[in-house]
């Protein structure tokens, strides 16, 4: 057998072995065996010295071709095996993706806080400031400065926790009206504020009454503030909290610190006015009280009612939450069952 035949034989045998190889280690062995210094190719090439001058370059070239071909085959096989090995590894790593994820810890804001934050964001966006007052107030600010002198029958509308004859647990966040108005310099523009916080009433707790609840008071006083502005503002509130273009309906009411005074109803967000259990089949939900600031209130805070006027409103986040989430018992808000609280986990 001539050298060329031997080489041809080596090539065939090498390709065959490479093809048959099943793992990378074995493939490496083949490489060493075939192409290494003690390998058959080298041995064959050592026999080149016996060839004629003419034959030598031809066989040499052939031998190099075979070496390259085997090296390529080795590389290709190596890549193939590496891919296969990786695939096998990945296959072995397959997970049941339907198993539940690892629990993480996450707390939630209280549902009433969420409503307050929503309102605060809304009003801050409209250029209001936020004024947080004290929960223990003076009778003077809670009532008298709001045009509710002692023995006014409207004081019956709010049963009050008194501490002393002149100090009480505030029954509304409205005291901030007087406290802010007396501080405000109207030369710097109108006063636009909201005051969120806890309020207290001397009530027995049951499904619809709570001795502690929340209120967000709003006040705008300036030279050009109208009742139409109040109506428009309340429409924005309704839209922000309930998401739809809900109509606002005003009805006459009475608060000593506003005149005219109104109750505001919004179209029931659930039935959009068709009538359902939530709105007791009226199509409307009573959500807040409001009105144009009473001239006496302005006067008592040193604001000239001939020049300035404005509107005030007071809304109840507890009531909003009860309406919005169909919560039937107001005590749920203050007993803090974590199964209740953690339901309100929708962000944005």
């Amino acid at each position: 057998m001539g050298l060329r035949e031997k080489l041809e034989e080596l090539r065939k045998q090498g390709i065959q072995e490479i093809k048959a190889s099943a793992d990378l280690d074995h493939l490496n062995d083949i490489r060493v065996k075939m192409l290494g210094k003690k390998g058959p190719l080298t041995t064959v090439l050592r026999g080149m010295k016996d060839l004629s001058k003419e034959e030598r370059p031809k066989v040499g070239k052939f031998a190099n071709e075979i070496r390259d071909e085997l090296a390529q085959a080795l590389e290709a096989k190596k890549a193939e095996l590496a891919t296969a090995r990786l695939n096998a590894k990945l296959a072995a790593e397959t997970l049941d993706v339907t198993l539940p994820g690892t629990p993480t810890v996450q707390g939630q804001p209280h549902v009433i806080q969420q409503i307050i934050d929503q309102l605060v964001d809304l009003f801050v966006g409209m250029g209001y400031q936020v004024a947080v007052g004290d929960e223990v107030e003076q009778d003077e600010y809670n009532f008298e400065r709001l045009n509710l002198p002692k023995d006014h029958p409207a004081r019956d509308m709010q049963d009050t926790f008194y501490v002393t004859p002149s100090v009480l647990m505030r029954t509304q966040t409205s005291p901030m009206q007087a406290r802010m108005m007396e501080k405000h310099d109207f030369a710097n523009g109108p006063l636009k504020m909201i005051s969120p916080g806890k309020v207290y009433r001397r009530d027995t707790d049951d499904a619809t009454h709570s001795h502690q609840f929340h209120q967000v008071e709003g006040l705008v006083v300036g030279e050009h503030v109208t009742m139409a502005d109040l109506k428009g503002t309340l429409e924005v509130v309704a839209k922000t909290l309930f998401g739809d273009e809900l109509a606002v309906r005003l009805r006459p009411s009475y608060f000593p610190f506003t005149e005219p005074s109104v109750e505001a109803d919004i179209t029931c967000f659930n039935c959009l006015g068709q009538g359902c259990a939530i709105c007791k089949h009226t199509g409307w939900l009573e959500v807040l009280g409001a009105g144009m600031v009473h001239p006496n209130v302005l006067k008592m805070s040193g604001v000239d009612p001939e020049v300035y006027g404005g509107f005030a409103f007071g809304l109840g986040p507890d009531r909003f939450a009860m309406i919005k989430y169909v919560v039937e018992d107001i005590r749920d808000f203050y007993q803090n069952d974590v199964r209740f609280l953690n339901q309100f986990n929708q962000k944005g």
């Binding site: 209280h110 209001y128 223990v136 001795h211 050009h224």
Partner: protein, 808 residues
């Protein structure tokens, strides 16, 4: 007030104009006063007809039942067994036919009573829906007799006024004028622009002169701005006619007798309370209105003996108090069947005095309610005279000519000048002078313009709630219609709005804790005195602020810490088998400081129990312990970015806390809070499991200087670490070791981190082993091995000498 639709129709063409009760109620709610309810007394009733008892035999097997034959139509007579004691042949009665529905939706079925067939039921008023307080007769007295001219077989409802519709209005305190038919008629006439046909009956006086038969004086003019009396003699007390009884019971007032009923009728019609004294029983005919003497006794109509105070107001005959002015009459002078003469009082009492008296004695009546909210002085005479008219008409009385007058009602129109420009400025409307004048005409308020902007409106005394232009704006707005107001937003500028820094940080504080796994709770600020004092950040002997007149023993004092409320929340969850609870609360605590009001301090607190994350298929549960909570607090404080140094110092002095598992939290040496495990005894009192809590004086933390927000350069040179393990006494704290390391750490020591703590087996009993990684890094060069070694050796030496540490 329960307003009768039929009564309104006597004066207003509502039905004629197609204004149905439901629409009327809706209109009132939108324009005038709130509506509680709209209902007809016959709602839910069915098959109740007029019957004539034609025969009545005792039941063979009963000593109190009767077997009646009752004619219910021209052709039909039914046998009905009846247990009423007063059933009588020849009477027209209320028959519930088989299939009828009576009170509470009870269905009448054919049946046998003690073996005798009964095809219906004869009814008392209580059985067809009248309340015991309103039905004129006691239920025990038996069935109700319809008028003799009632037509057999007709539905009974019209005979009882049950076909009326009642509009139950809910008044705000300013609209006292709506506590009368008169007021409702006026308002509806304005709302619907209808002709007002309200009618009064003028009195017919006899020839007999008053002379000195009755006199009235005021001891204090402030008590009664108006006080007048009439004397009616020779009357016969009897039942009122049906039309009058119906008007009363549909308004929720029980008919008593003609005299009392007439006073109540006038009360409803005019809103003017009247009181009838039995003239003969008055100890003197010289009437005085005065304050009570302290300790004076008076037995009121309800039989209660009342001890009076000097602030109370009474009507006295001679020296003796015979009635509580404006609140309730006295028993000794009450009208009864024997009464033949009455002294009839029409007055206006001071609202505040009546209110105080009614509240003090808990005597809230239809009369006191009206005095408190105001009486129309314009109609006092009309009301008194019409009452006298009816006493003559219905009780055969003779009205003595003239009146005993202590004070005549004083009233005048109130002139208010409106500016059309101002009206539009406040309401945001574009009303013209003519439109506003038209609205005043509808209200029956006289008005005349001064120029093209100013309008002078004369508001009559019957609308005493209207005092200012703003009150008229409301009248204009409601009659014009709130629906017709445009909707706009305030157009002014120059307000930036926004949260203050503190407000923004309070919000961020909440978000941080939520991110750390705590859910926000809102608990009650009012609690018991004991709980209010527990868990204070800065404990002292101060008593909490207490309510003067609490409603419940659970809520009497304002909290001085937040934790106690959170523990009640934990208990609530624990009682409901919710084992894992992680709550925080942010809010005010109330710290009395000797002033009029307590200091309100913003605090934040947390309570955790059970597991932070529950066990699951691929992770063990992570139980709460001291360090879990401390981790939360540390991260929280890191987020709060106070510039000062925070340290944790063991504190065994807090009575509600575990003495070995509590740390005070200090900011630059000042206690700003604490954390730890609730003392097991305290936990037992709260009925809660092992629970860890913290509370921080957030106000103090927010007031402290903030860490600078400067960027810290990150070194590009490699860091080198050295580990050190040391054996120290159990009493030596981590904080002491870290401080010692840092003290001699040198300029390149960047970080000290504890990575192992061991005590127990293989170590002496009083020793523990701690292992730290020290990280060295320079900002300007790669550290040389020698530099690090030298620095590290200094630390080792220092730990050995100062803490007696054995380096392992």
């Amino acid at each position: 007030m329960k307003v009768s639709y039929q009564w309104l129709n006597q004066y207003l063409p509502l039905e004629e104009k197609g204004i149905q009760p439901a629409a009327l109620a809706e209109k009132l709610a939108r324009t005038s006063v709130d509506i509680n309810d709209v209902y007809s007394p016959m709602d839910g009733l069915k098959k109740l007809v007029v019957g004539l008892v034609v025969a009545c035999e005792p039941h063979p097997d009963s000593d109190h039942l009767n077997v009646c034959q009752v004619q219910v139509s021209e052709t039909e007579t039914l046998q009905i067994v009846c247990g009423a004691p007063n059933v009588q042949v020849g009477k027209k009665v209320i028959v519930a036919l088989v299939g009828a529905r009576i009170k509470d939706n009870i269905k009448i079925k054919r049946g046998k009573i003690r073996g005798v067939e009964s095809n219906g039921m004869l009814c008392a008023l209580q059985e067809i829906g009248f309340s015991e307080q309103v039905a004129p007769k006691d239920y025990e007295a038996g069935i109700w007799f319809l008028p003799d001219d009632a037509v057999v077989g007709d539905a009974v409802y019209p005979y009882l006024g049950m076909d009326d519709t009642i509009i139950d209005t809910d008044l705000t305190p300013n609209r006292g004028d709506m506590l009368s038919i008169f007021g409702n008629v006026n308002d509806l006439a304005a709302i619907y622009d209808l002709p007002n046909g309200f009618e009064s009956h003028p009195v017919v006086e006899s020839d007999e002169a008053m002379a000195d038969q009755l006199s009235a004086t005021l001891a204090d003019e402030a008590i009664a701005p108006a006080y007048e009396m009439r004397l009616i003699k020779h009357l016969h007390v009897a039942d009122s006619p049906m039309w009058l009884q119906i008007k009363l019971w549909n308004a929720g007032i029980r008919p008593i007798n003609n005299v009392v009923d007439i006073t109540n009728y006038i009360l409803l019609k005019y809103g003017q309370p009247l009181h009838a004294f039995d003239y003969a029983k008055l100890p003197s005919h010289q009437i005085t209105v005065r304050h009570a003497q302290a300790g004076e006794q008076l037995t009121t109509l309800d039989g209660e003996a009342r001890s009076l105070q000097a602030s109370d107001i009474v009507i006295a005959a001679g020296e003796e108090a015979v009635a509580l002015a404006g609140t309730m009459g006295g028993q000794s002078t009450m009208v009864d069947e024997q009464t033949t003469s009455v002294a009839l009082e029409a007055a206006i009492f001071d609202p505040v005095m009546v209110r105080k008296q009614a509240r003090r004695l808990d005597l809230h009546s239809e009369s006191s309610m009206r005095f408190e909210r105001g009486i129309n002085p314009e109609t006092l005479h009309q009301a008194l005279d019409e009452a006298a008219y009816w006493l003559a008409e219905l009780a055969g009385g003779q009205v003595v000519a003239g009146k005993a007058v202590a004070a005549r009602p004083q009233f005048a129109d109130r002139e208010i000048t409106l500016s059309v420009r101002r009206v539009n400025h406040v309401l945001g409307t574009e009303l013209t002078m003519a439109m506003i004048e038209q609205l005043m005409v509808r209200l029956d308020f006289a008005a005349h313009s001064l120029d093209d902007d100013q309008l002078v409106v004369a508001v009559p005394a019957r609308r005493w709630d209207i005092e200012l232009p703003a009150d008229l704006y409301e009248e204009i707005a409601r009659l014009y219609g709130y629906d017709n107001l445009p909707s706009t937003l305030p157009t002014m500028t120059k307000t930036a709005g926004g949260l203050t820094e503190t407000q923004a940080r309070l919000r961020a504080s909440r978000h941080t804790l939520e991110g750390l796994g705590l859910t926000q709770a809102i608990s009650y600020s009012l609690t018991t005195v004991k709980r209010a004092q527990q868990f204070r950040v800065a404990p002292d002997q101060t008593q909490p602020m207490q309510l003067d007149y609490p409603m419940s023993s659970d809520h009497v004092a304002t909290r001085m810490s937040i934790i106690s409320g959170l523990l009640l929340d934990v208990a609530y969850n624990h009682a409901r088998k919710v084992a894992d609870v992680a709550l925080y609360e942010q809010g005010r605590v109330f710290l009395p400081q000797g002033g009029e009001r307590p200091l309100e301090e913003e605090h934040v607190a947390g309570a955790v129990t059970g597991h932070l994350t529950p066990a699951n298929w691929h992770q063990a549960a992570q139980p709460v312990d001291f360090y879990a909570l401390k981790g939360i607090v540390q991260t929280y404080l890191q987020n709060l970015a106070v510039a000062g140094e925070i340290t944790y110092v063991a504190d065994s002095s807090r009575p509600e806390m575990h003495p070995g598992r509590t740390a005070n939290i200090l900011l630059d040496g000042q206690v700003v809070g604490f954390l730890g495990q609730v003392h097991p005894s305290c936990a037992a009192e709260y009925k809660i499991p092992e629970t860890y809590v913290f509370e921080l004086n957030l106000a103090a933390l927010l007031a402290a200087p903030k860490r600078d927000k400067h960027y810290v350069h990150i070194s590009k040179y490699p860091a080198v670490t050295r580990d050190i393990a040391l054996l120290v006494d159990q009493t030596i704290t981590n904080q002491a070791i870290v401080a010692a390391i840092k003290q001699k750490g040198g300029a390149y020591l960047k970080q000290v981190q504890l990575f192992d703590l061991y005590r127990g087996e293989h170590l002496p009993a009083n020793k523990k082993s701690l292992a730290y990684t020290l990280t060295y890094q320079a900002d300007d060069a790669t550290l040389k091995e020698d530099d690090v070694n030298q620095a590290f050796e200094k630390v080792v030496a220092h730990l050995t000498t100062t803490l007696g540490a054995e380096i392992r």
